[in-house]
């Protein structure tokens, strides 16, 4: 019993409880101090994660290794950046409540539990701990019908996914006799072969995680929820929970179900292809930037799944690199969306960006960098992300998927270019309100990362390699 392995999660949870008390006692508005305290707690947790020992704890329910450290740091960073974006937004929308950062904190604890899960039970626990705060966050702007609708939609479909996960887990338990990942790996690698019940169970588990990832065909909720939820919440949705779901998917598929790759590979390949294609085509007609970004994120998830479907060391490394770069560009792009506010009112049409190149050149430049990066144009980071998943795909002979991938990136270049076009080619509209400081910080950080990634790619690459080595061993 080595409970110190879970120290980061424990510390973060205790911090969360403390901040809750700290926020509720004084009479005045505690949003800012609470947000800062939560970010401080994230930093503290990050330090603990870096210094964490490796091993399993709680009777094999929990595992800490380089892979979990990499993913946890990524989700902590994404959550912290999301909070920075929310600070100013919530104040302007009259949503300044100290519960907001605390909810994000508990969602993050859930993500970390998911990432470290080594058992179907702890997986479910983490997933629910993540999901419940997310439902509340989606409906955080409760007087706004769209936000309430988003929350309800997300809740209903999320519950469905949870149900599927539980059903799949129980099938696996019933046919394999265990829920522990290590013992599952042993059970499934036995010569006896694999029963149909386990396969059905695996597919259910994949489906539930694909729901969290918003991969086709479990993507239906994404555009509506992304559009309806408050923009900083959407930024958070599109980044951190995806990291956690992806970490789990990678761990489950490469660990316990790694031996039966033939049973699930075509499911992931199909989902990857459909996601890329749908992400490319469905976004073309969108007039709302948030919906557009929703479809764009579906497309990116397709690329990430391409790496996962290929598997192996290089494939999984591609997944990690792509995820890290995607988080940076995505949060950066959402920072611009958060800053889209004219005369105190938030606007979210693509056309509202018109003439941004004149009214706010720095922000337009950053957005252009993100858009070119997402389209995969070198020398931006997004190009390297695509390279790292295409390399293993071609190495393993997945030509069809690779060709569909690059073609869909050409199609998606069309709508990314449209945003650049609107910002630079169209006549200037009235400028946005003054850019909040939090947005500027996030924009500078993610923009510089996206633009100059090519100068020092080795750092991220090495970290990803260590993480994958821990997983594959």
């Amino acid at each position: 019993m080595n409970w110190t392995l879970a120290l980061p999660e424990l510390v973060l949870s205790v911090c969360g409880l403390a901040i809750l008390v700290f926020g509720v006692i004084p009479k005045r508005d505690m949003t800012f101090p609470c947000t800062m305290a939560v970010i401080g707690a994230f930093v503290l947790t990050g330090v603990l994660v870096i210094g964490q020992a490796e091993g399993t704890a709680f009777g094999g329910q929990y595992v800490a290794d380089d892979f979990s450290a990499f993913m946890k740091l990524l989700s902590l960073a994404a959550a912290a950046l999301g909070l920075l974006l929310a600070l100013d937004w919530n104040a302007k929308e009259g949503l300044s409540r100290f519960e907001f950062p605390v909810l994000v904190l508990f969602a993050t604890v859930g993500m970390m539990v998911m990432i470290s899960a080594n058992d179907l039970m702890s997986l479910y626990l983490g997933l629910e701990l993540l999901s419940l705060p997310l439902y509340v966050l989606a409906a955080f702007d409760r007087d706004n019908p769209r936000s309430a609708e988003a929350g309800l939609k997300y809740f209903i479909l999320g519950s469905l996914a949870s149900g599927m996960l539980l059903y799949g887990a129980s099938l696996i338990y019933g046919f394999a006799g265990t829920t522990n990942f290590d013992r599952l790996a042993d059970a499934l690698s036995a010569e006896a072969g694999i029963s149909a019940g386990v396969v059905v169970g695996i597919v259910f588990v994949i489906a539930a995680l694909a729901f969290k990832l918003a991969a086709v065909p479990f993507h239906m909720w994404t555009p509506d929820v992304y559009e309806g939820a408050p923009t900083p919440v959407t930024a958070f949705f599109a980044s951190a929970p995806k990291v956690a779901a992806l970490a789990l998917l990678v761990r489950v598929l490469s660990g316990p179900f790694g031996e039966v790759i033939g049973q699930w590979q075509q499911v992931v390949v199909l989902s990857a292809i459909l996601s890329m294609v749908l992400g490319a085509f469905a976004a073309i007609g969108q007039r709302n930037v948030k919906r557009l970004m929703a479809y764009s994120s579906i497309g990116h998830v397709g690329f990430i799944l391409m790496g996962l479907a290929v598997g192996g060391e290089t494939g999984l490394r591609g997944v990690l690199v792509y995820t890290a770069i995607y988080i940076a560009m995505n949060i950066g792009a959402f920072a611009v969306l958060v800053a889209m506010r004219r005369n105190g009112r938030a606007v979210e049409g693509v056309d509202d960006l018109a003439g941004l190149g004149r009214t706010d050149p720095a922000m337009a430049l950053a957005m252009a960098i993100f858009m070119f990066s997402m389209a995969g144009v070198p020398p931006m980071a997004g190009f390297f992300a695509k390279i790292y998943v295409l390399l293993p795909a071609i190495e393993q002979g997945f030509w069809g998927m690779a060709v569909i991938g690059v073609l869909s990136s050409v199609v998606s270049a069309y709508y990314y270019l449209r945003i650049v076009k609107v910002m630079y080619f169209d006549a200037a509209a009235t400028g946005f309100d003054l850019r909040p400081a939090g947005v500027s910080v996030v924009l500078a950080g993610t923009g510089l990362f996206t633009l100059f990634f090519f100068l020092f790619p080795a750092m991220l690459l090495d970290a990803a390699r260590h993480a994958v080595a821990a997983l594959i061993g």
Binding site: P378, I387, L391, I394, A413, L417, Y424, F425, F454, P457
Partner: protein, 504 residues
């Protein structure tokens, strides 16, 4: 270290970025910013040009190897490095890029009045990408520069272009992007086979014929769009017509050469058998390009569109020369690329001169310009004649060599290419007659002023080059003859081995 004693190629590539950095810092009134931006960009590009003359002086013409080499580890996991170097094929294109950039900046001095700083930044970024592309000795690095060109060019066409600029910029970007992603897959496949993306190492690597065919098609998708070859040339007239003058100059002068350079650098040395296999198809496409686009050019009313179609025709001559695989043919193609870079760039500048004054490119709106602008008419005539390959001017030696080489392959191919030359004379003279001669009927034409000192400064180096290349082509041919000789020899050796193997 290399012959220059310092990493000159990286310096040439990234020095414009320093200019970009300075431009970003400029603050103040819009007019002050604009003026500062112009001077900063001009000085940066002039310094780069002067520095690039080191290549002209120190390049060892007797050697066929890569020179001024630089090598830094970049992505060691994948065997992808940052490698720079030039050989006889690329060195003059580096010089062409560094020469045309300051001229373009000078040419846009007055015609660009909005967002001057951004314009200059775009041009300096473009210079970085162009120079880097010709210097890259790693395929992945090449691809990054090759694609990176799209961003500044997209913005230049889209922001400072004509009325249909949005359509043209999209078409330009998406066409090229579409072609290039196939090349990316091909690069990855090559990397997977050979374990490296270093160009010199790849050239040593034997690729099975079956794979060569696929790789050739993938490269073709990218380079043919960029050249552009018929039938994927349709983005070019749109891009040219809508782009600002300087954008057209760079587009015709340098960007079109990227495709042909790609064929020379990758398709032929890496895939000799597939290149030989597809050569007849390339002849056909080249001849169709030459004849068809020449005919189309004859029917144009718009000056820029006419020159754009003539570019497609000239590039048809280039691809024809490249795929003859002979010393004459490839040297002729390279020479035509250079002369076309100078001459078509100059022709677009000529269009720009009258466009700045009258804001129309319709041939029929002019007439009799020679009477009011004699100096301009003289310059325009020089470049018109150079374009129709009048002996003694830049266009002639290259086309002659290509047609000679084509005759050795098949007289009919040579006849096709020669037809293009005849048609070329027809449309260029039509253009010249329509603009310079005829009755001076319109008042606004009558009020047009002749060249100003700035425009003389833009044209002077191009005139010198056009005459120099025509009168003494050897000073340019000598740069690439050693490299081309080695390339032809290696190609024949590879084909010889392949046919011997087939004979067994």
């Amino acid at each position: 270290m290399n012959a220059a004693g310092f990493p000159i190629l990286s310096l040439l590539t990234f020095l414009p970025m320093l200019g970009v950095l300075i431009l970003m810092m400029v603050r103040g009134e819009e007019a002050v910013v604009a003026s500062n931006a112009r001077w900063t960009a001009l000085w940066t590009s002039l310094i780069v040009f002067v520095l690039s003359l080191v290549l002209w002086v120190r390049f060892d013409k007797s050697s066929a190897d890569y020179q001024f080499l630089e090598q830094v580890s970049w992505l060691p996991d994948f065997g992808i490095g940052y490698a720079m170097g030039v050989d006889g094929i690329s060195v003059l294109f580096v010089l062409l890029s560094t020469l045309l950039t300051p001229l373009c900046i000078l040419a846009s001095w007055n015609s660009v009045q909005t967002r001057v700083r951004e314009y200059m930044i775009a041009f300096l970024v473009l210079e970085t990408m162009m120079v880097g592309m010709f210097c890259a000795l790693d395929f992945m690095l090449f691809y990054i520069f090759f694609e990176g060109v799209l961003i500044p060019m997209f913005l230049i066409i889209g922001i400072w272009g004509g009325p249909r600029r949005v359509y043209a910029s999209y078409k330009f970007f998406l066409y090229t992007f579409f072609g290039s992603v196939f090349m990316l897959l091909a690069i990855i496949a090559l990397w997977y086979q050979a374990g490296t993306t270093s160009i010199p190492e790849l050239a040593e690597f034997d690729i099975p014929f079956n794979m060569q065919v696929w790789l050739f098609l993938a490269f073709f998708a990218s380079f043919a769009v960029k050249v552009p070859m018929w039938p994927v040339h349709t983005w070019l007239p749109d891009a040219h017509v809508e782009a600002p003058t300087a954008g057209s100059v760079i587009l015709a002068g340098v960007l079109l050469k990227m495709g042909a350079y790609g064929f020379l650098r990758f398709s032929i040395p890496l895939l000799p058998e597939a290149s030989a296999y597809f050569a007849p198809a390339m002849y056909v496409l080249s001849i169709v390009a030459v004849v068809y686009t020449s005919l189309v050019a004859l029917a144009q009313q718009d000056m820029k569109k006419l020159i754009a179609y003539s570019s497609v025709a000239h590039m048809g001559i280039v691809t024809l020369g490249i795929f003859t695989f002979s010393q004459q043919g490839i040297e002729g193609a390279l020479f035509t690329m250079l002369s076309h870079g100078v001459v078509s760039g100059a022709l677009f500048l000529c269009v720009g001169v009258v466009y700045d004054r009258l804001h129309t490119r319709e041939i029929a709106r002019y007439g009799g310009v020679a009477k009011v602008m004699p100096a301009y008419a003289m310059v325009f005539m020089l470049f018109t004649m150079a374009s129709v390959a009048l002996p003694g001017l830049a266009g002639f030696p290259g086309e002659l060599l290509v047609i000679l080489a084509a005759w050795a392959i098949n007289p009919w191919v040579a006849v096709g290419a020669a037809t293009g030359m005849v048609l070329g004379a027809a449309y260029m003279l039509t253009l010249y007659r329509g603009v310079a001669f005829g009755k001076l009927t319109r008042d606004d034409v009558r009020r047009m002023l002749d060249l100003e000192p700035r425009e003389y400064a833009v044209f002077a180096p191009l005139i010198v080059l056009a005459l120099w290349m025509g009168v003494y082509p050897q000073s340019f041919l000598s740069f690439f003859s050693a490299t081309v000789a080695q390339m032809v020899q290696q190609h024949q050796a590879a084909i010889g081995t392949a046919s011997r193997l087939a004979g067994l």
